[in-house]
């Protein structure tokens, strides 16, 4: 890659682009992103197709990659050099990020893919007719859009539309806010004849819950502060649905941050892509947001986005805060009978 | 420079561009980009910078947030120091003596929120309060939307200042008593003089207790009905409301849509009455409703729902929403802006003049929105042009609006009451109050700032050919 591109796009983004285009996922891990659904035996075709995305499955690899990059940096090699070394290994067939990430991730509970299973479990409990494309599910490509690779994004989007069409997909339920926003709002701009109906998980769940008299209930009472992910609150513009769901859960007390720090004004935690270009700044954003959430006095911080979960968890660890960071899915799945 | 810490100064090109760009069109000219942006954190540091600039004859442009609307915050001379006061943002309450002290860079909105938590209010309210500073407000002596004769202009609440003179000396003015000095009070040399005589670093202001408020909204068939309503209000010797606002029907559409308030029934008149108790406030509000109805209001009522109060106020306050055009429609740019405070009996005449009385071609071609603080006799006209108009034509629109503003003020013997008199408005200043007074002003400036380092070009009207 010439000096030219490196000058205008941060190196980690360039790597992510290659990962997405050549390996079909953001971490470039030659692994199976459908393992979480192996035993679920979901049909490929159904009224609603669940779009799992890459985030949850690969967060632990991204986390591991970032930790590895950070420790390489500590040794004085520089983050870019670290990623460059991994690329060099990649050229000779050794998947270094995957190995180092696996090593870094080893011994820690895989919190993320559990969330995917929980989401599908909720949909099934609420009688949705749900399918999943398994290994045919493409990467939505949104990292390409935000990093500046618009032409690659458009090509990828059109390719994906053909994939969806070839499977007879009409309705998507997305879980990752960024992917869902991309599929709902950007694809129609760049794909001719785009006619998929795209919903976010929480809006269909909130709607369905309203139509039933199910009473979700937690075993123990918890105080919860909800962190609106940027993509969910300001791109998808969904702020009431998560609250309707949380407030429906018996035993759950919702504590909101300041009015200018929540809902459509929710302060960004920094988890969504800022790390690659500005790691120290990203860390500061995470710590600041965590403080705002801690000020509510809640014992649990619930959010609804893999990047936010990762970022807030890391920030809580750094501050040694006595708080549990969870995805809203985990709370709801536990509370639903 | 070892006068300020390295982290409080920036020579980065983009930082300099951002600070140099003021709150209006057009773009900052490349040759006027400041040489450096400095953000001192104490009066001593400000003094050091000023001394250095004075010795080396370097222009200083003083910024609170740089949001002034008449060109006063834009650098007029090349290679200047852009002095940002945002590092001086401390706030201290002294309730026992009924005052607070704030660094001139304290943000107005943050200050307002802080005062409210203690049961006080900030006696001013500008649309730009989210970005603007208290120092800027005091330097221009503005209270924005509020009605002057209700609580007074900001200078009426200023008990004292800390100021850095153009030679770098730091002085203190005023008093700690709620009765301010009669006779010579140095505070008045700096409050309201738009940063040309000295740099305000700290403000001491009296604590104003927060009043209870009652909101009145009315919709009128004719814009001049609203003018007549407020003329009647004062004729009946009713106490001045805290706010009296006017928003023409055209200007209601976008903000109402944004806040789901439906289609406006007519031109909107809004008033906020205050009282020590809610009953007092409500009583005043009902009187205003009666006045509105007498002047043909299609609908007039006291608004009690908190959300509705916020929404109607926001629809008026966030005037810039009117520039939001639906996708596909051509974008509008605010080119011609008029702000004039007129005699009470001529409120309706001025509205008519804005709309039809003048002979300016680009203004007639542009899209006009009339709005303003009618309760304090202050009217705004905003002429918006399609973005596709060539720059020359858009600048012509801007100039014609300035000329119109001058005409109105000269014809009816008044002046602008909200955003100051320097920079763009100097030609008016000279016509309105005459050359003798202007010569006196320039002599005073020469005496206080012989090297002309503070905001040079603003008193000269440099860069504006109208």
């Amino acid at each position: 890659m010439s000096k030219s591109l490196k000058n205008v796009v941060p190196v980690p983004h360039i790597y992510i682009r290659e990962n997405v285009l050549h390996k079909g996922n953001i971490a470039g891990v030659a692994g199976d992103k459908t393992a979480w659904a192996k035993d679920l035996n979901l049909p490929r075709q159904a009224e609603h197709t669940f779009f799992a995305g890459c985030g949850y499955q690969f967060m632990r690899y991204v986390e591991g990659m970032m930790r590895a990059a950070a420790s390489i940096e500590k040794v004085g090699l520089g983050r870019e050099k670290g990623l460059g070394i991994s690329r060099a290994f990649g050229k000779i067939g050794i998947d270094l990020p995957s190995i180092s990430a696996k090593v870094a991730a080893a011994g820690r509970e895989d919190t993320y893919t559990r969330i995917l299973g929980g989401a599908v479990s909720i949909l099934l409990k609420l009688d949705f007719d749900v399918g999943y494309l398994y290994e045919d599910e493409p990467c939505c490509g949104s990292p390409l859009y935000y990093s500046g690779f618009l032409d690659d994004y458009i090509e990828n989007a059109n390719k994906n539309f053909s994939i969806f069409k070839s499977h007879g997909i009409r309705k998507l339920i997305g879980l990752i806010p960024a992917c869902t926003a991309s599929l709902r709002d950007y694809y129609p701009k760049y794909v001719e004849g785009y006619d998929l109906e795209v919903y976010h998980f929480i809006e269909v769940v909130a709607q369905r819950l309203k139509e039933t008299d199910i009473k979700p209930k937690l075993k123990e009472n918890v105080t919860v502060a909800y962190h609106d992910p940027c993509q969910l609150s300001r791109y998808l513009e969904i702020t009431s649905a998560p609250r309707e769901v949380l407030e429906r859960i018996e035993g759950l007390e919702l504590r909101e941050p300041e009015p200018e720090q929540c809902k459509q004004w929710s302060t960004c935690c920094g988890g969504g892509g800022l790390e690659a270009g500005a790691p120290e700044l990203c860390e500061r954003l995470g710590l600041r947001r965590l403080e705002e959430l801690l000020n509510t006095g809640a014992h649990v911080i619930a959010t609804h986005c893999p990047a936010c979960v990762m970022q807030l968890k890391r920030s809580a660890e750094k501050l040694k805060a006595d708080v549990k960071v969870m995805d809203l899915v985990e709370l709801l799945d536990e509370a639903l009978p | 420079m070892s006068i300020v810490k390295k982290e409080n100064l920036s020579a980065d090109i983009y930082e300099r561009i951002a600070y140099g760009q003021d709150g209006i069109q057009p773009d900052l000219e490349p040759d006027k980009i400041p040489a450096v942006v400095v953000k001192p954190t104490s009066a001593e540091e400000v003094s050091g910078v000023v001394r250095y600039a004075n010795e080396n004859k370097i222009p200083i442009y003083i910024h609170g947030a740089g949001t002034a609307f008449k060109g006063s915050s834009r650098p007029k001379r090349p290679d200047s120091i852009l002095l940002s006061m945002q590092g001086l943002d401390s706030v201290e309450l002294h309730e026992e003596d009924l005052y607070f002290e704030a660094g001139s860079g304290a943000n107005q909105y943050e200050l307002e929120k802080l005062l409210l938590t203690h049961g006080y209010m900030l006696p001013m309210n500008v649309g730009s309060k989210y970005s603007a500073t208290i120092g800027g407000a005091v330097a221009i002596n503005t209270i924005g939307h509020m009605v002057d004769i209700c609580l007074g202009k900001i200078i009426d609440h200023v008990m004292g200042l800390e100021v850095v003179l153009p030679n770098g000396e730091i002085i203190e003015t005023g008093t700690r008593s709620i009765r301010r000095p009669a006779g010579i009070d140095y505070t008045r040399f700096f409050a309201g003089t738009e940063g040309v005589f000295g740099i305000i670093t700290k403000v001491r202001m009296r604590l104003v207790p927060n009043y209870q408020r009652a909101y009145v909204v009315g919709f009128f068939p004719e814009l001049t009905d609203i003018a007549h309503a407020f003329m009647r209000l004062y004729k009946e010797k009713l106490p001045p409301p805290l706010y009296g606002e006017l928003l023409d029907k055209k200007a209601c559409i976008a903000p109402f849509r944004l806040r789901e308030l439906g289609e406006p029934l007519g031109h909107m008149g809004l008033a906020i009455a205050i009282g020590h108790t809610q009953e007092d406030a409500d009583q005043q509000a009902h009187k205003i409703v009666r006045v509105f109805k007498t002047e043909n209001a299609l609908e007039a009522r006291v608004v009690t729902s908190h959300k509705e109060q916020e929404d109607y106020w926001a629809a008026r306050d966030n005037i810039l929403n009117i520039l939001q055009t639906p996708e596909g429609e051509e974008k509008l740019l605010p080119m011609g802006a008029v702000e004039t405070s007129v005699p009470l009996s001529h409120l309706a005449d001025v509205i008519d003049y804005f709309r039809t009385g003048h002979g300016y071609s680009t203004l007639h071609e542009a899209k006009l929105f009339v709005y303003g603080h009618v309760g304090t006799c202050d009217l705004h006209g905003l002429w918006c042009t399609p973005a596709s108009w060539p720059l020359e034509k858009r600048l012509q629109c801007r100039n014609e609006a300035l000329l119109l503003e001058n005409e109105v003020n000269l014809m009816w013997g008044c002046a602008s009451g909200e955003i100051g008199q320097t920079a763009m408005r100097i030609s008016f200043l000279r016509k309105r109050w005459g050359e003798a007074a202007y010569a006196m002003l320039m002599n005073i400036k020469k005496a206080i700032d012989p090297n002309n380092i503070l905001n040079p070009g603003n008193l000269e009207g440099e860069g504006y050919d109208v």
């Binding site: 000058n7 935000y146 500046g148 | 970005s131």
Partner: protein, 103 residues
């Protein structure tokens, strides 16, 4: 694409209400949508600053849209976040084009 970007920036009146909303704001104007847009504007119009410097600013944006929300509710709806992303796309496109020409 450049025309589109400049067209949107023209509707920014530099009210600076987005500044306190930016999570990356730590006291300097370029740490906000307003500052980033002013930089993009004069860089594209007069070539001030380098692409590298501009890109650094653009990638310090978290693309959280908090500025965009503020601008929509209180000001002229310039869609600042979208412009910052579009400018990233413009710079990348130009760099890729140069690369192709070079090879």
């Amino acid at each position: 694409m450049q025309e589109e970007i400049l067209g949107f920036i023209q509707t920014c009146i530099n009210c600076r209400m987005c500044v306190p909303m930016c999570p990356t704001y730590e006291g300097w104007a370029t740490q906000s949508a307003f500052g980033r847009l002013a930089a993009i504007n004069l860089h594209l119009k007069y070539g001030l600053g380098t692409e590298e410097e501009l890109s650094r600013l653009l990638f310090q944006c978290a693309t959280c849209r908090r500025c965009q929300e503020r601008c929509k509710m209180l000001s002229t709806n310039v869609t600042p976040t979208d412009i910052i992303i579009k400018t990233r796309q413009l710079l990348a496109r130009k760099a890729l084009a140069r690369e192709r020409k070079g090879s």
